[in-house]
């Protein structure tokens, strides 16, 4: 019997066991997944919890319901991987040997990495986050009777999972306060370490415009040093001070600590892998999938999904000693809630930034890329159903795994390149 061990039954790990089990003979392969939590959480739902738009029950279900027959689930937490010995040790002392290992333990927010952020005096009182279930619920309670003031939405450091989520939160907050008839009592500031609203130029300028339209001010290039409680403010490495009455931050995101203890991670505990095949740079029998790897793509469920359309074929080739031929391109596809019943959609990969157009059918849609529509908003809401009923179980969706240029408008890229040296330097200054 060969042993395949999967660490983590979140989005990526659950999809992986569902896709691999039918492809691996039960007589030859024993499959095990290690997961401490009995509830599987739908993290995209955390965006809606603070505004009371989703009930808590809509964001979780039983972990085991999504683990297929023929896969053993071990309830436990990984303590360390010993890659030279091909064993994994759990915190409770159990040892699990493997022939192949798939790391799918994701990434989590670490408020303790920023001085002052998780001080008892402020944490979950005036300083909040919505990247955990507990955080999103605490923020819901605070927002319910918040009298208004200065709301600062803040991103600590890139990369974070779902990089558009803090922008979406900002748009939804604007709409939430408007609906409550108190938008004039709230000043909204968006502070980011990036030089604009988002990472990629075309989307960044468009999203920046959307902040402006909503009278939300942007504090770019803001690399946080600390959070002060008296006076309540965030302070940057270059001594800029941004006061707040309510801070909603996305703390530093890091991969699981056992990855560092096992000598498998980079400085943020992400596992270095080949970005096309997800095979570890160091070990020929270890893969890292989903948010746990260091691939230069968005850390998003959609990326995990598209990569999982290709990964099983690669895995089978690899265990049979053949070269892997299903190259992943970093395809990401993210709905962006923009408030007031509308949403946008972006579709991009390692090499191509988000562009306007139609998706998935060129010219037809029904979704519009980089444009606010009601259909896009409905797409985001429908995604929850697809997640529980199709994605996790590994059902094929009628969407191509690799990004397609068909349906994208490239004319927006034809801005003059290098028209004057001064202009390029402007960007660096």
């Amino acid at each position: 019997m060969k042993r395949l061990l999967v660490l983590g039954a979140g989005t990526a790990g659950t999809m992986a066991v569902n896709k691999l089990r039918p492809r691996l003979s039960v007589d030859e392969w024993q499959m095990t997944v290690v997961e401490p939590s009995d509830v599987h959480r739908y993290q995209p739902g955390y965006l809606f919890l603070p505004f009371g738009a989703y009930t808590p029950e809509e964001t979780f279900d039983d972990t085991d319901r999504y683990i297929p027959e023929g896969v053993e689930r071990v309830r436990g937490e990984v303590d360390v991987v010993k890659p030279e010995e091909n064993v994994v040790e759990l915190v409770d002392g159990r040892t699990l040997p493997y022939d192949y290992l798939i790391i799918a333990t994701g990434t989590t927010p670490r408020p303790d990495e920023t001085p002052g952020m998780d001080d008892d005096a402020v944490w979950r009182k005036t300083v909040h986050e919505f990247y955990t279930f507990e955080g999103a619920m605490a923020l819901r309670d605070t927002l319910a009777d918040w009298p208004g003031g200065r709301l600062v939405v803040h991103v600590t450091e890139m990369p974070i999972k779902c990089p558009v989520a803090p922008l979406e939160f900002t748009f939804l907050a604007d709409a939430f306060f408007a609906e409550k008839g108190m938008r004039d009592k709230v000043e909204i500031v968006y502070a980011t370490p990036l030089e604009g609203a988002f990472t990629k130029p075309v989307a960044s300028s468009l999203l920046g415009g959307m902040l402006e339209e909503r009278s939300i001010s942007l504090e770019p290039d803001f690399m946080i040093e600390r959070v002060d409680s008296e006076p309540a403010q965030i302070v940057s490495m270059d001594e800029r001070e941004v006061p707040f009455d309510l801070l909603v931050t996305v703390p530093l995101n890091m991969g699981a600590d056992f990855i560092a203890r096992s000598g498998l991670g980079d400085d943020l505990n992400y596992v270095p892998v080949d970005k096309h095949t997800l095979l570890s740079d160091k070990y020929d029998n270890i893969f890292a999938i989903g948010d746990a790897s260091n691939i230069p793509a968005s850390k998003a469920g959609s990326v995990a999904h598209f990569s999982m359309d290709l990964f099983p074929e690669n895995f089978i080739q690899h265990i049979n000693g053949q070269p892997m031929t299903h190259f992943f391109d970093g395809h990401a596809n993210c709905f962006i809630e923009s408030g007031r019943g509308k949403g946008m959609l972006i579709d991009f990969n390692y090499d191509t930034e988000p562009l306007p157009g139609k998706y998935p059918l060129p010219g037809v849609g029904p979704f519009s890329l980089l444009k606010e529509t009601e259909i896009n908003h409905l797409g985001k809401l429908a995604f929850r159903w697809m997640y529980w009923n199709m994605l996790l179980k590994g059902t094929e969706l009628p969407l191509p795994a690799l990004m397609s240029m068909a349906g994208k408008n490239t004319s927006v890229l034809e801005t003059p390149v290098l028209d004057s040296t001064d202009k390029e330097l402007e960007a660096v200054r």
Binding site: M158, L194, T199, M223, L425, V428, R429
Partner: protein
């Protein structure tokens, strides 16, 4: 890829003016690039740039500000003093390396 003339030499750059061929880089060029963005190189600046070049040679990618701090030993705060406002971008620009990713 466009070319431009820096320090009397023809070099390949991308649309933001970053060198695209790290092997075309040398210290004369670096000093000129630094002047372009209003930075006068001191020993402290050179130490950081040297770390970035060496690290790129072994890692194949540009160090992030976090790595320049944790591995290189130059605290982020100092990076902001030496390369004001946008250290990640300015350091890689002067070092003739691609902008660090992590920004996706």
């Amino acid at each position: 890829m466009p070319n431009t003339t820096i320090a009397g030499r023809d070099v390949a750059v991308d649309d933001e003016g970053f060198l695209t061929d790290p092997s075309q880089w040398d210290e004369t060029l670096a000093a000129e690039l630094a002047t372009n963005i209003g930075i006068e190189m001191t020993d402290d600046h050179w130490a950081v740039i040297k770390f970035l070049r060496d690290d790129y040679a072994t890692q194949g990618e540009t160090a992030t500000t976090r790595r320049v701090d944790k591995v290189g030993g130059f605290p982020v705060k100092q990076q902001f003093v030496l390369f004001p406002k946008k250290p990640a971008k300015k350091m890689s620009y002067i070092a003739g390396l691609p902008k660090p990713h992590g920004c996706v």
